[in-house]
Amino acid sequence: MSDFLGRLSSVPSRPHDPDNISAERYDRQLRDLISYLKQPGVASSTSDYSDFFEIVSPSVHSLSFLFLLRFQIQLVQKRTKRDIPQNLHPGGDLWKQVVRFLRSFDPIQIRYAGYEWRQLVEVVASAAQAISKPALAVKVIADALGRLNTSGMFTSVHLTLVKLALLSSSYTHTLPIMDKVLCNFPTDTNHVHHETFLCSEHGSSAAFITDTSGFSTKLTYRDHLQFYLYSAMIYMALKRWDHASHCLSVVISSPTANSVSKIMVEAYKKWVLASLLGYGKLPPTSRMIAPHVTRVYQSLARPYVSLAEAFEKADLQKMSAEVDLGQSIWRDDKNTGLVSQLFEAYDKFMIIKLGRTFSALTIADVLQRAPSYFKDHYDTEEFVASLVMSDTLRATLSHLPGTESTTMLRFCLSTQFHAFREEHIRTRLMRGKSALNTIAKGIVQTDQTLELSDENLHFIARSQKWNGDPEKSGAVGSGEAGVGGDIDEDLMGDGH
């Protein structure tokens, strides 16, 4: 028993380790610990692990704690013959320990047990769903993902998280995860990082989240498409249209091999609506979309496209006709909510557009020049007032002296909001900077891995063969590759 405890607490997390051991030794220690914990005999050595939960700290001995949880869950599952036993339900004692662990684990140690960590997260998800309260798991999983810091790596846990968030309509907790730029997928990168250790400092997560690390299930194209579609749906629920339409453009412009996914078509429909709601027009689609894919979109989303045409041409009558005509289509596609918001967005953009032509005009003029969903003078005034209050429209309303019924709408010049704008620009700059940093890092990293990928090496080797003289071309090839000597050796080996 004490021996077991000794083994459990043998490898503390590095900040808690008094003597600063080398990465190599630490790596060996952790691997030893894992292999010990994975021995078939260890699990059965004791009947109940709940006592250990108080002794072993989840933040210092994260690996041990994770395996303890695992043993305990298996034990209870065996005892109760149920997948999700009672005390694993939210509020149960085991649930509390799991949550405690997921909020405080040491991300370095966990790198060695990605598979076990993911399964724990999935247990949390199914436990919360088992009692139909998925919202309880959302925050926990979001925190755990944030702690793991995948730095731009997509995992199946991301997908689980957004699914749960959508099921439970608890959107804001997922934002910290969704707002991060994801740009990588777990791949087989062993040959690149063979000299480093899992526990050492890594510039990117590609070193410890690979296709064999277990942090993610084996991904298919559906997973990332679904993730971005669900993310977009969350952003749309929060009315953050620009984020939503970006997520959707990820889906609709994703690479295809001779076929188009239904998810992409659904995303295109939503993208049309989100662009109308967010920008009042359809921005040009990304040039990366292959022409045949665009044709598929155009033909399958015809009602949406013609609705967008009517919207853009400011043809209110045609738009209402299209909306009425497509009622069943919107309902089948579950887009009724978005479509019903179109009219308000239409009015909003019409009034904003008036601000470019007029600097002041009466509400009656507004009604006349921007034929609106509202027929009434007072409705319009109220709508304009709400736009002004929500900061969508920079304008003031004033009653003309003497005539109570005539309201003058005066659009303000942009300069009058100087202080406000400075602040606004600052926040945008900060946001842009961090996004740019992530992207730049991702680009450098991808560039590196692509350069070292088998395809590229083969290509270089082949082009050398074409050159004929192997001696001469060897020099050229190493210049092209522009990396260390080991590649050069590879090439030579390949060439001979």
Binding site: Q129, F185, R356, T357, F358, T362
Partner: protein, 505 residues
């Protein structure tokens, strides 16, 4: 287009300018149709009396353009219809072209059936047709004879005679072909030059402006003697600028007109008179150049001054425009609109030219103001009425025009309907630049993200692929999973979750 006769049977090759419809280069026929025909059917109908005397006007021209111009005036102007058509009938009867005689008579009979000329002279028509037929046969026979003898010069002259004959009887495509055939038999540069001029004149009558341009270019490629060059330059410039005018590139047309040498004189009267050069050139320049350019290149242009002296009102209009007196300028143009609508070349373009001049005047007028009252603008730009108060109502045509100009981005200003002023937008350039920079940053991040994701998706093998491909992958994957990984979450609960999500979607 606007000139196309109503009866499709008459759309024969002989009707001049019909082919404009098909070959109106670069000009959107719809917009022209829209502006020209908004008021009256398929024809332009001019009710105002023009300022010119028909007889002295037509005396400026020679050749076939006389008939074409008179016919146009006869069909478009209500004032001069009878007089012009009668003259046209007489003109046609003096020539050999029977079809245009018939057209002129028919047009006259529609307007004034009681006139003596409104009845077709069958005798003359039949006689002329016979004469024409005999002449055609004779010339073609002669040409065949020349061809058998293989004498280049004779073949060239035979073709020339035939072309001339076809031109006179109004068979323009055949004339064009006959003249084109001369090409291989030209032996001296002067032959080539004269052939090209003949082709150009046929092309102008056909309204084939592309061919006019290409043949003028070919003329330029010739290197004749100095005196030849000075003799030909004005004609070349005039033909070129006409074709540019018709293709809607007014600035180029203005440049070519301005470059036309005043030695043109009456030498090109079968196409256009020096007065026309002044009018076309002046209007094109007004519509396409700014005030400095107008002053420097039109008013201070010594050679073009010779033309402008023929049409002093154009000169006045341009100098008013240069001095920012827009109302007198617009009034002059307004007064002469009827004349220009009856001009064979200007008719299709005058509306566009006027709109451009007007828009430019408004733009120029607004430059010094930061805010200007709508009333004072109306005083200058609303012509033809004295009652200013109604003119600045928010629904008046003038305000609507301003709104249109603002919305299409021509005017950088906004209308204040409370104080009844037009406020020029003094956007904060610094803010605008900042906004633009931030936007481009956002766009870049988005685009880069999309592309990066794409690269990584492809690298990870996650492209969307056909179903059978994917199934195979899945089987492999499942097999792999079972062998390597334990399974402490039963698959059943996972399935349940899937079910739930599906229903949610």
């Amino acid at each position: 287009m606007a000139l196309a006769p109503l009866d499709p049977a008459e759309m024969g090759p002989s009707s001049p300018y019909v082919s404009q419809t098909a070959i109106s280069m670069g000009v959107d026929p719809d917009t022209l149709n829209g502006t020209m025909n908004a008021t009256a059917g398929p024809f332009v109908r001019v009710d105002d009396p023009p300022k010119f005397e028909l007889e002295s006007y037509i005396a400026n021209y020679t050749g076939r353009t006389r008939f074409n111009r008179m016919f146009l005036i006869g069909t478009c102007s209500t004032h001069l219809a009878v007089e012009a058509l009668k003259a046209a009938v007489a003109e046609a009867k003096s020539g050999k072209d029977v079809s245009r005689y018939e057209r002129a008579v028919q047009a006259l009979s529609e307007i004034a059936p009681n006139e003596a000329e409104a009845v077709i002279d069958r005798d003359w028509a039949e006689r002329s047709q016979k004469v024409v037929k005999a002449e055609t046969d004779r010339l073609e026979h002669e040409l065949r004879g020349y061809k058998n003898n293989l004498i280049k010069e004779s073949i060239r002259m035979g073709n020339e005679d035939l072309g001339q004959h076809y031109h006179q009887i109004g068979d323009l495509p055949s004339a064009f072909k006959a003249y084109s055939r001369m090409r291989d038999f030209c032996t001296t540069p002067s032959h080539i030059v004269s052939m090209l001029f003949k082709i150009i004149s046929v092309s102008i009558e056909r309204g084939d402006w592309l061919s006019v341009q290409s043949h003028v270019q070919r003329l330029r490629g010739q290197q004749p003697k100095q005196e030849e060059q000075t003799k030909n330059q004005p004609k070349m410039a005039a033909a070129m600028s006409l074709s540019q005018l018709h293709s809607g590139s007014y600035l180029e047309a203005a440049n070519s007109f301005l470059a036309t040498n005043p030695s043109l004189g009456d030498s090109y009267n079968e196409v256009l008179s020096p007065n026309d050069v002044a009018v076309y050139g002046g209007l094109c320049a007004l519509a396409s150049m700014d005030r400095n350019e107008l002053q420097r290149r039109v008013l201070d242009n010594n050679s073009f001054r010779n033309f402008l002296e023929l049409e002093p009102h154009i000169r006045r209009a341009i100098s008013f425009f240069c001095n920012s007196k827009f109302r007198p300028c617009l009034e002059i143009l307004e007064a002469y609109q009827a004349d220009y609508l009856l001009d064979i070349h200007l008719q299709r373009h005058i509306q566009t030219l006027y709109t451009r001049i007007r828009t430019k005047s408004i733009q120029q007028y607004l430059i010094p103001f930061s805010r200007v009252s709508l009333d004072s603008m109306a005083k200058i730009f609303v012509l033809g009425t004295t009652d200013q108060t109604i003119q600045t109502d928010s629904n008046s045509a003038f305000v609507q025009e301003l709104i249109g100009l603002i919305q299409d981005g021509t005017l950088d200003a906004r209308i204040d309907l409370e104080k009844r002023v037009l406020v020029s937008s003094q956007g904060d350039k610094r803010l605008e630049v900042q906004e633009a920079a931030l936007d481009s940053l956002d766009n870049y991040v988005r685009e880069a993200h999309l592309r990066l994701l794409r690269a990584n998706i492809v690298r990870a093998g996650l492209e969307v692929r056909p179903l059978h491909d994917e199934r195979r992958l899945k089987i492999e994957e499942r097999g792999g999973k079972r062998s390597t990984l334990g399974n402490f979450l039963s698959r059943a609960s996972g399935m349940k979750q899937q079910e739930k999500l599906r229903s949610f979607e």
